[in-house]
Amino acid sequence: MPAPIRLRELIRTIRTARTQAEEREMIQKECAAIRSSFREEDNTYRCRNVAKLLYMHMLGYPAHFGQLECLKLIASQKFTDKRIGYLGAMLLLDERQDVHLLMTNCIKNDLNHSTQYVQGLSLCTLGCMGSSEMCRDLAGEVEKLLKTSNSYLRKKAALCAVHVIRKVPELMEMFLPATKNLLSEKNHGVLHTSVVLLTEMCERSPDMLSHFRKLVPQLVRILKNLIMSGYSPEHDVSGISDPFLQVRILRLLRILGKGDDDSSEAMNDILAQVATNTETSKNVGNAILYETVLTIMDIKSESGLRVLAINILGRFLLNNDKNIRYVALTSLLKTVQTDHNAVQRHRSTIVDCLKDLDVSIKRRAMELSFALVNGNNIRGMMKELLYFLDSCDPDFKADCASGIFLAAEKYAPSKRWHIDTIMRVLTTAGSYVRDDSVPNLIQLITNSVEMHAYTVQRLYKALLDDISQQPLVQVASWCIGEYGDLLVSGQCEEEEPIQVSEDEVLDVLEGLLVSNLSTPVTRAYSLTAIMKLSTRFSSVNRIKKVVSIYGSSIDVELQQRAVEYNALFKKYDHMRPALLERMPIMEKTASNGPTDIVQTNGETDSTILDTKHLPNITQPASQANDLLDLLGGNDVVPVIQTTVPTKPASAGGELLDLLGDLSLTGGPTPTPAPSVPMSQPSFLLDGLTSQPLFNDIAAVIPPMTAYNKNGLKIEFTFERSNPNPNIAVITIHATNSSEADMTEFVFQAAVPKTFQLQLLSPSSNVVPALNQGSVTQVIRVLNPQKQQLRMRIKLTYTHKGSPVQDLAEVNNFPPQSWQ
């Protein structure tokens, strides 16, 4: 078999390939050749083949068949083989392959090899990809090498130790004795890696931290030597001697000095020296200064030093170099929490950075600006931020908009300013604002009562300009619906009132309905707004027409609303004014309550249901309940908070099932009930304790006791639902006169075939003892044939620890209940 081609040849060949396919072909051919060569167990050319394999791996082709070969190379005696073998191991192997464990023995032998380069190779590989098992086995060897005098090996051993500690934190103790004289080394490489090792140990364990605090003077001395010493050509980078080591030491000092007065004390001088003496013309000097500033901010430094640090950062901000500005903004962001006032001084520079062309800088400046906003500078800052919002990239707009909303909420100097700001955001970045900003804004508007006229006027004008930004349109249509009368009457103190006629307003709203730019949600908003205007405007006919047109809309949401509004016009005209009255001021928390439940019902717009169902307090109960029954008492219902312990989240799905669920039920269906007003105060009738309609009827049908045994008494009270005289609504009250509670109380009922029974969920399933409370449940019985009502009931509960079950027949229904 001819000798496999050299790596160089392979690379040359691959580079001649003109297409990806050609390259793939060449590589596959070569892979096949390599594979057969591996099979032949050819020692001489193995390293060449593996080298080629690594090249192909870098280009992205699979190379896992070379893993074992790498191991064989590592085991060989030749340095060349070992080198390629270890490189291959680092690139191709990792903890997840079991093969890597085979390396452990090889590495162990190589760690004790006579040649330092071989030892170095094995340390390197162990430090890069050693798994925890390998580290555990070989930690002892590493520790031995940490104490050697050979600086080449010592520095590698130090970094390897770091890797071991990362993988197996328990072994940290083992390396402690070896660290004793690490810092007395002269060799910078060893110093550097020792500082890294110490840093890692301090970060991981607070005990180590306190142990190493005593090294602070030594570190300070080393740093001093570095700065003071003259030109040293070896470690010089652009005129500063070993900046990498300086930076590392500063970082370690930061960790050691944090929270500790004595160490911070010891460091103050050297930090001041570094801060003042370092040359800042090159990146190197700035790197050191940056690190110094971070250290000063973190330790308990004296105030003079802190001011110095912030001033350095301020100087950085004015630097031409973008990198420096970026770094300054990042560190200012970190310090703004602690040293707010100092950072405020640089506010104007930061705001200027908003106009920078560089995306990373703009983002940092934006975050920092939001952190700097406070009550005093809100107006100025907001102007700049709004200007920024206008001109920034779309990625930023969402974050910026939310930031502006938050800042405005916290620091708004006046309501008018707040509303203006939000409107400005909506008009410029309308499509990027978050969804919850619409209800938040609406809530804000309702709360600022004196601004209603001004708000609605501005929103109307904005709508005339542009109807493409959905959140703006939604808020505007809601407001016009609510405060349309203010708009038309032309009373506005804050601004020049504009003359708007009712027809113009309706034109705009209808325009929204038909426009292609409006989403379904927006259309729902505008339909409801039109409906609300029917009580505020005089031209009802036009509104009636619009509403009836949408009764046949394809969009189910719109159709449902239109149909319901139509019904309002036709049958319930007397209710309309009350129903569509002005919304009360919403409490932020309360409005979250029902809207959550409502939203799980599949309704997308919370406020629409709010309009219908939130308490218009003067509304008479009868009309409300009639409405409920009209709609089958179904999807409208969930707004009525029952104190029933049913999870609101389940309201969604089962509610819609309720539509068909009027069959015989054996057990309590877990659907929220339209609880009859007198049993629980429902949200709809909040604050309304006046007579519900049904009280009247209840007085007509006397209540009866259905069951009374063992302390458990069940009483039936009757209501007759008005529109459908065949449905009798029975409420059971269960009371417990014994001394022990009855838990897991379940009431079940069955009726003869000619009846239909619907059992709604009980108020609870614990009947408290000694008549302290009662469990109520509603039963609806459909009795189309007007036969005598009979019922068999089954009760199960746990009383005094033992389960009790009972059956009973209820025959003594008063005749009025089923006639």
């Binding site: 790596l7 160089r8 690379i11 580079r15 690594l54 090249y55 870098m58 280009l59 992205g60 190379a63 340095f79 060349t80 080198r83 490189l87 680092m90 990792d94 903890e95 997840r96 040649t115 380069y117 170095g120 340390l123 390197c124 430090g127 890069c128 080449y152 520095k155 970094l159 390897c160 770091v162 890797h163 910078h188 490489g189 550097h192 890294v196 070896e234 980078v237 070993d242 900046p243 990498f244 080591l245 930076v247 970082r251 990146n283 190197v284 700035n286 790197a287 940056y290 690190e291 973008k322 990198n323 420096i324 500005r325 970026y326 770094v327 062309l357 560089d358 995306v359 990373s360 800088i361």
Partner: protein, 193 residues
């Protein structure tokens, strides 16, 4: 900690890729592609720091890059490294390569990928900076290659011959041997009588 070191050219072809955290091969290639997309979009005069792409850890990791002629050198680091320090490290790395390869160019990196890996291994180990002294690093790398050459045996003969010639200190040979002007004096033979 340094998570990855990538070198690729202006078209996105990888010239060196070293990961200090484990990813699958596919992910590695994707990371290279994603990094190339992010870095190549950057203007010349913006800062050298970027948020990391999604694959390599998102906003916790930063990409610090430098553009030299046709190559991008990208170091992906986490928050424990100083950004400006890493910029300097990239500079030191490139200068070391320059020293070891004598006026390094992209072709050198292409054809001597293993040597570049070795130099890098002398500088960064396990994601942490090992040595920053350029002369130290290049001495070590040279010692390695010397060891390799001494072992190479017969197969290394041509290479050794080449390096032997390079190192040969030939005395200054006359460069031009100008034959044109030699006048050959024809001896004046006396006539016979």
């Amino acid at each position: 900690m340094i998570k990855a070191i990538l070198i690729f050219n202006n078209h996105g072809k990888p010239r060196l890729s070293k990961f200090y955290e484990h990813y699958t091969e596919d992910t590695e290639q994707q990371i290279i592609r994603e990094t190339f997309h992010l870095v190549s979009k950057r203007d010349e005069n913006v800062c050298n720091f970027l948020e990391g792409g999604l694959l390599i850890g998102g906003s916790e990791n930063k990409l610090i890059y430098r553009h030299y002629a046709t190559l991008y050198f990208v170091f992906c680091v986490d928050s424990s490294e100083s950004e400006l320090g890493i910029l300097d490290l990239i500079q030191v790395f490139v200068e070391t390569l320059d020293k070891c390869f004598e006026n390094v160019c992209e072709l050198d990196l292409i054809f001597h990928m293993d040597k570049v890996h070795n130099i890098l291994a002398e500088m960064v180990m396990g994601g942490m900076v090992l040595e920053t002294n350029m002369s130290e690093i290049s001495t070590q790398a040279e010692a390695h290659s010397k060891m390799e050459k001494s072992e190479a045996g017969i197969a290394g003969a041509p290479a050794r011959a080449v390096s032997a010639v390079k190192n040969m200190n030939l005395p200054e040979m006359p460069k031009n041997i100008n034959i044109g002007d030699i006048s050959i004096k024809v001896p004046n033979l006396s006539s016979f009588k």
